[in-house]
């Protein structure tokens, strides 16, 4: 039983982080119908920002989480205004290529600025929490709690706040929403900023439990794309459920099998799920 709970705890940590990344992707796709290939680079942004904060300014990495969120949101607002918004009305493939180009350019910038070597820090929460034989490190617990907090806040915003309702209206029917007086440009700006802020916060958390390189975002974003598809394109709730599900499946599968087979099994299960529900877990059939 302890082993079972340990595997659940392990799966939740990975799933939580994946969910935070996927949340932003789902938000951008749901509201703007944009597949953001540059999302991984925003994770990298948060990871490097936190690393610099800890290494150069001697601050706590925990401070890096909100600061990365704010920095990410600001960069997101800039990118949306200067790069994404001018492509409004262009074919989806054009916008996709713009985000792809942005990803390549950002990766180049990170490589130029920081080189290819790994960076890491040891400051921050340390020690473990033992609950009835289930051991979770404080770093992992921090990751899980922060992901829960960001996830809950985003869900609250989407369900209860006026702007969240506007974003959901945009996701359901863009033209009808605009006709009802919703400011589309402002709403898109907010959605993109929020999504990039979440990605940067996720990057900050990644730096807490891993290492920082210019490629660090790429390693997470591919799985996050899978989560978004599995959850239902653009569905925020679906993305969260799919991320946690993927984290748990991977945790159990890689315990029972080796890493390669676990990955194969995970993707076979995803394929099977999409055969049964092509629209994803919580996606609409017409999405």
């Amino acid at each position: 039983m302890t082993l079972l709970l340990q595997l659940v705890a392990n799966g939740l940590v990975v799933g939580g982080l994946l969910g935070l990344v996927a949340l932003g992707l789902a938000l951008i796709f749901g509201v703007m119908r944009v597949v953001n290939f540059a999302h991984g680079e925003f994770i990298t942004l948060g990871a490097f920002a936190t690393y610099l904060l800890v290494n150069n300014l001697g601050l706590s990495p925990l401070l890096g989480i909100p600061l990365s969120f704010v920095l990410g949101a600001a960069v997101g607002a800039f990118v949306q205004t200067v790069i994404i918004a001018p492509t409004a009305g262009r074919p989806e493939l054009d916008v996709l290529m713009v985000t792809y180009a942005l990803s390549i350019a950002a990766l180049g910038l990170f490589s130029q600025a920081f080189g290819g070597d790994f960076r890491s820090y040891s400051q921050g929460p340390s020690g473990t929490l033992d609950i009835g034989g289930v051991v979770v490190g404080w770093r992992s617990l921090t990751v899980l709690l922060v992901c829960l907090a960001f996830g809950a806040a985003t869900m609250f915003l989407m369900q209860r706040a006026r702007i969240g309702i506007a974003l959901r209206a945009l996701a359901q029917n863009r033209d009808a929403a605009a006709t009802c007086g919703i400011d589309v440009r402002r709403s898109e700006l907010l959605a993109f900023s929020l999504a990039v802020g979440l990605a940067a916060a996720a990057g900050s958390l990644v730096s807490l439990i891993g290492t920082v390189t210019p490629n660090v975002g790429h390693e997470w974003v591919l799985d996050a794309f899978v989560v978004v598809v599995l959850g239902g394109m653009g569905s925020i709730g679906g993305a969260i459920i799919a991320a946690i599900g993927l984290g748990l499946i991977h945790s159990f599968a890689s315990f029972l099998l080796d890493d390669s087979w676990a990955k194969i099994l995970t993707y076979v299960l995803i394929y099977a799920a999409l055969l049964v529900r092509p629209q994803g877990l919580l996606g609409r059939a017409d999405a």
Partner: protein, 394 residues
């Protein structure tokens, strides 16, 4: 006078054009010209941080040789191009170094993938190369390479130092886990370690992971469930740190822990006090007490005002090996190749000696361990005491 046929005319024209182009590309060499050694180095891109240390080693070696009057009365000149950390670019640059610059030999690039790519170019042109920073021995297993020689200790022996320490200090610890990446160099090292561990009477289990993996929690659970006491990780630095951190987070304290990249100074930044007692392996350490090594460290410090890294030492060693070959055989490439393939040559890394495949056998890795924030050589001739068991994670 016999008239030239059209075919004869074409032949003569082709010969003239060919001679003109060849002359244009390669200037005739005179005895006063420097001996050119070519190098493609990753001066930009993801390997640039480490490759610059390589460049320093090459330049220091050439300066010292030239200060002593060169080789056979000729100065040496190292022609270096930037391969941008890209294997394909490295291969193209090696062809340029050979065809256009007339490099007699090629000093190896940074990293195994680029060495592998350049290996193709030097085989085709039949120019000797020393793989300065190529630990991946599988390069020499996958195909027959006659002109490339491994200058770096072979990755096959990645776990050797740790297993020797286990033999000496292990006591009752009999269960070993080898964690390895599904990549040729790591698999070869794992295979060597499995055989060696079984020979030592250890119960050993190997755990593979996919390249790029960052989540080792399930592997750790399997290691814990098996009651494993000794862990040796044979992957790259990034997954090694991820594995270590997740072991700490899990509160799993093996009796002894080794990861092959641990000697790198970044380990201290990444793990802080938890680095204490972790074993690693190192191609070279400044503290190794030989006259040649001391002289190298002093001259490097005098020039660059810091202690050299193993990258610089390996580059300097590659220069020393070529120096011996050029002194013995002149600039005859085939004779240099033969010399490198058969001789034992002293360098700051140890005695360069390759096997029939061209893989390094003269020197292996040194075992290291972190003591009070410093990575020390342990075992062998070292007097440094070994911390055993590993202190518990904090």
């Amino acid at each position: 006078m016999r008239k030239l046929s059209r075919r004869g005319m074409l032949g003569l024209t082709a010969a003239a054009v060919s001679a003109t182009f060849t002359d244009g590309l390669r200037t005739p060499v005179s005895a006063a010209d420097p001996i050119k050694l070519g190098a493609s180095l990753s001066l930009t891109g993801r390997f640039s941080d480490s490759a610059k240390y390589c460049q320093e080693g090459y330049l220091l070696w050439s300066e010292q040789v030239n200060a002593k009057g060169g080789i056979g009365g000729r100065q040496v000149q190292i022609v270096i191009y930037d391969d941008e950390s890209n294997p394909d670019t490295g291969r193209v640059l090696a062809e340029r170094l050979i065809d256009r610059d007339g490099a007699t030999v090629i000093l190896g690039p940074y990293s195994s993938p680029i060495t592998d790519a350049i290996g193709t170019a030097v085989e085709r042109a039949q120019v000797p190369m020393i793989g300065t920073i190529a630990s991946d021995s599988s390069i020499w297993n996958r195909r027959k390479l006659r002109w490339s020689f491994q200058g770096f200790p072979s990755s096959d022996f990645d776990h050797e130092g740790f297993l020797n320490t286990v033999k000496e200090k292990g006591g009752n610890a009999k269960k070993l886990a080898i964690v390895y990446e599904e990549a040729p160099f790591s698999i070869a090292a794992k295979d060597w370690a499995l055989a060696k561990a079984k020979e030592m009477g250890l119960t050993v289990e190997a755990y593979g992971y996919n390249p790029g993996a960052q989540d080792f929690r399930s592997i750790i659970e399997r290691i814990v469930a098996a009651g494993t006491e000794l862990v040796s990780m044979g992957g790259y630095y990034q997954p090694s740190i991820a594995l270590t951190r997740q072991m700490i987070e899990r509160g799993y304290n093996p009796v002894a822990y080794h990861f092959i990249q641990a000697a790198d100074g970044v380990t201290k930044d990444a793990l802080g006090k938890n680095a204490e007692g972790i074993f690693g392996r190192s191609a070279w350490e400044a503290s190794v007490d030989t006259p040649a090594n001391k002289a190298f460290v002093e001259s490097y410090k005098a020039k660059f005002n810091r202690i050299p890294s193993y990258h610089s030492a390996a580059a300097f060693a590659a220069g020393q090996v070529f120096e011996a070959a050029l002194k013995a055989k002149g600039t005859d490439r085939a004779a240099i190749r033969e010399f490198l393939a058969t001789q034992s040559i002293e360098s700051v890394l140890g005695h360069f000696k390759v096997n029939a495949k061209g893989q390094q056998e003269g020197y292996h890795y040194l075992a290291t361990q972190w003591h009070d924030g410093v990575s020390h050589v342990v075992g062998g001739a070292s007097k440094q005491p070994i911390i055993w068991p590993k202190p518990k994670w904090t």
